[in-house]
Symmetry: C2
């Protein structure tokens, strides 16, 4: 059943059928009704491929992320897909892993097939510190608009939507210092755009309070919950003394919690812990985890609506920054 069949049965030309389908106004009400009746009767739906060929678009956007099973990214994908679908766009998912090489490969793959109208990069890990490594993204942006969530990058046709991670960590670090807890361990596992912003926030808070930044209190560590716990045990045994831990990620904070449990350290009396992302696991532990909420829903909503504006040819800010919130739970006195 194609447009010719319908046009035959309705006794009109395919052009008229096409006009009816696409809501073109230049059709008499009578004709429209007649055609619609036939369409309904035979349950005709236009062939998406043919339409794609003609319009050079199938209303599809590519969502790229390192690992969609990460709960935080999974939520972002959920929110994006929902809003995109609400605007009539399908989402093609593509998990790239964390290596630049594979990211590049998949971005080019998704694009080279030239079937997506835009690409959304979810997670600041898509923005490399060495800017020349981001060139491949700029290349792709010559063809389709690129939206970056939680990271920022300059470039034509590249739009960034994110939270002010620097400020968030800065504020929380300062607050802890002012509570007298200046032995603050900063634990992070990402050297991405936002990962580095967070560290910078930590440093700046100390500097603004005229305190020395102890470099060995800034710990980069990759590993699962158990490994984080063991790492902290090791640090503690080495004589490290800390009364607060800020992490770049809720998972790390869970590891810190496990460490405290194992050492019999009371929380938050003897140790404050602050996570990042305000993910669902903040409510799975005991006590529940204080965490920085970087407003994922707001960011995703804005991303999609901005993208729609880009499609519409409207002016869209290259960079949109929201502020984060501290969600206070049981692991701090704040």
């Amino acid at each position: 059943m194609n447009i010719y069949d319908i046009s035959n049965k309705a006794g009109v030309s395919i052009a008229t059928v096409s006009r009816v389908i696409n809501g073109n106004t230049n059709v008499s009400p009578k004709t429209r009704e007649k055609v619609m009746a036939i369409i309904d009767e035979y349950g005709y739906t236009p062939n998406a491929f043919a339409r794609g060929l003609g319009l050079n678009s199938m209303n599809t956007v590519g969502i790229l992320c390192a690992d969609s099973s990460d709960p935080y990214l999974a939520r972002a994908i959920y929110l994006l897909e929902r809003d995109l679908r609400g605007n009539g766009y399908d989402s093609i998912l593509c998990c790239t892993g964390y290596h630049v090489k594979t990211k590049q490969k998949y971005l080019n793959l998704v694009l080279s097939t030239k079937r997506v109208d835009a690409v959304i990069l979810v997670g600041s890990n898509f923005v490399e510190v060495q800017d020349e490594k981001n060139q491949y993204i700029r290349d792709v942006a010559k063809n389709v608009p690129i939206m970056i969530i939680n990271g920022a990058m300059d470039g034509e046709n590249i739009y960034s939507v994110l939270c002010d991670d620097f400020r968030a960590v800065y504020d929380v670090t300062k607050a802890l210092i002012r509570c007298g807890q200046s032995n603050i361990l900063y634990l992070y596992n990402s050297l991405s755009y936002s990962g580095l912003k967070k560290v910078a926030g930590y440093r700046a808070a100390f500097e603004d309070e005229h305190l020395m930044v102890k470099e060995d209190y800034i710990q980069y560590f990759e590993g699962n919950i158990i490994e984080v716990k063991n790492h902290l045990l090791k640090l503690s045994n080495k004589g490290f003394d800390f009364n607060a831990i800020i992490t770049s990620d809720d998972n790390l904070a869970i590891g810190a919690l496990k460490y405290a449990k194992e050492k019999g350290i009371k929380i938050p009396t003897e140790l404050s812990i602050i996570g990042y992302n305000n993910s669902m696991i903040t409510e799975c532990c005991e006590p529940e985890l204080t965490s920085i909420d970087n407003k994922l829903e707001t960011v995703c909503k804005n991303c999609v609506s901005s993208l729609m504006s880009v499609f519409a040819g409207d002016d869209v800010p290259l960079k949109t920054v929201f502020s984060a919130d501290l969600v206070k739970r049981g692991t701090t006195f704040l």
Copy 2:
């Protein structure tokens, strides 16, 4: 840059270019090389829409799930996307929510656009108990193969891959009973295919041990972690006496854990808790949660490879059932 441009520059016909692109053997090595050189030089990639129009396929499958931000479903999606891409297929994600009406709407939407080569339904909640409500799935299966993960349904062109949830709960219930813990609360939040299988396993274990099934120990409850906790507190205050809780879901089990914490009940000494899915949150709590692992990775792998067989026209089992594993952690003595 299209196939005509390439054919001109290479001094051959478009048919030859097409043959080169598609790896057809009937091309002389010399010609192939010449054409490839031009293709590389101009960075030509075939237009996916045009190709889709001719072949009536763009190598895309639709992945439908109720809520991709659910960590368990998110992991399934991750695994499926990975394996599909490994086979050259893109994944279109579509979150349907939990209502039959919207599921039907989205399934028809994804299909009516006729752009997917198959549909994977992730989660047993797609299979309704009242079989007539599943008719819409059978209707869609007339057009494209349907794969169901974690649920099973009869029907032409419908393939189910799942774990034996009945057996898993049966075994674990029996084990608890034989440890003398026969006051077992069964807590569940899903009336789906697998949800009911699990309950049936619980019942069967009691019957096979010649014990009465206490109906009020089978509790259906929907709600978040806190609500589950409060529900259990209420039950306890009403005089319910239980020394073990089996849940249909890890989240419910976390609620049970919180309940125990609040009441000062020792785990596992005074209360055993067993979750389901072996999701990552099993490792976020204290003590860590014993949980039934329904082999998601195995199931997803099998699903994709079965789908490829379906595409190839090979014989594929309509139903593939794996056995589940109990992963023992800190909330049981088992």
